[in-house]
Subunit: 198 residues, 2 copies
Amino acid sequence: MAHDTTKRREALRESLIGLAEAQVRADGLASLRARTLAKEAGCAVGAIYNVFDDMTGLTLAVNGRTFGRLGKHVSDAVAKVADAPPTERLVAMAIAYLEFASANPNLWRALFDVEMSTDRDVPEWYMQELGRLFAIIAQPLSELHPDPEPGEIDLMTRALFSSVHGIVLLGLENRISAVPRERMEGMIEFLLKRATAT
Amino acid sequence: MAHDTTKRREALRESLIGLAEAQVRADGLASLRARTLAKEAGCAVGAIYNVFDDMTGLTLAVNGRTFGRLGKHVSDAVAKVADAPPTERLVAMAIAYLEFASANPNLWRALFDVEMSTDRDVPEWYMQELGRLFAIIAQPLSELHPDPEPGEIDLMTRALFSSVHGIVLLGLENRISAVPRERMEGMIEFLLKRATAT
DNA sequence: TAGTTCATTGAACACTGTTCAGGTAGGGAT
DNA sequence: ATCCCTACCTGAACAGTGTTCAATGAACTA
């Protein structure tokens, strides 16, 4: 029956995503193997391709989950200080971003390491999720600048997100120069307070 | 003769680096193939391994050249405005960094995409070159803060470099959201002026 | 029960980076 | 001139990878 097949496939799909996620979390995106995954899931290698276009498709599915959790983590953090001044809310968000990346380094890196260079389009949920994240950041900025020039808020949003991302990225890259956690928080606070000072 | 062999190897080494660099520049690090490279160099695949430990070693050699050119580009840029105020010099450096990354996206990305996770140590020249870059950045910052607390200059240096790096990284990542060049310069100027305002 | 449809399988394919037994070339001794 | 010996270079072979598709088998229909 068609419906039964659909359900079984959906179950396999979820199973594969979960197993792949565990693998990426433990040993990084580069350690993901089609054969190993199939063995763990108790299916044939070919079955993966009945459910995903290719391994990149599977990786995108894992990233979808990660992105969701990241968004929730940041949202929750800012919700806890909803009544604080805008700058403090920005700092809370950035620290939450650092926390998530630090707690899930391999999953977080996979968000950016997946290769989408070839024909494949960026998934729609990717842009949506990113838009949601940017909207959260833009809110405090709008409060700080009630009468912005056109595009100013968007520019600041991107600039601040990119900056915090850069600090987290190079900070966690221990091969270049391991930076202690509290110093990273210090950098982020310093930067955001300066950048948003009136 | 031993000397002759050494010279031939050195020539092959240089040739391989040059060819690999051209390949990375044109199509990115991921497009580098041992067999293709050997064919282009007119040698056997095994010959590559007489000269480099492995393909990562070759990539590191390419990155060494790139890093050198990047450093020179940034140094030259700041030298041209040596008499300008510290903040302007910082902006000039950051814009130069953006220029280089924008003009050599694939070579620039290769600097960070090479996988060094496994045993291999970070080459000594890597840390040296990075230290040199940081020193150039630290100079204007020291002028802005004549009496810094211990480690303050270092913290700011890392924070500002990481921030600019993040802006350039995500800005050039057109798959996420292509940002026009002049807006990226705007972001960098905005950020550095705010961060270094007295 | 026989026939038809269609999802699943896993061996085979094309492609990696890397190795190492063997052929080759060149200098020195007899 | 001949032989040897050393050291270098070669490229077929190896151990992997992601991906495909003819063949299997199960399930549903008449």
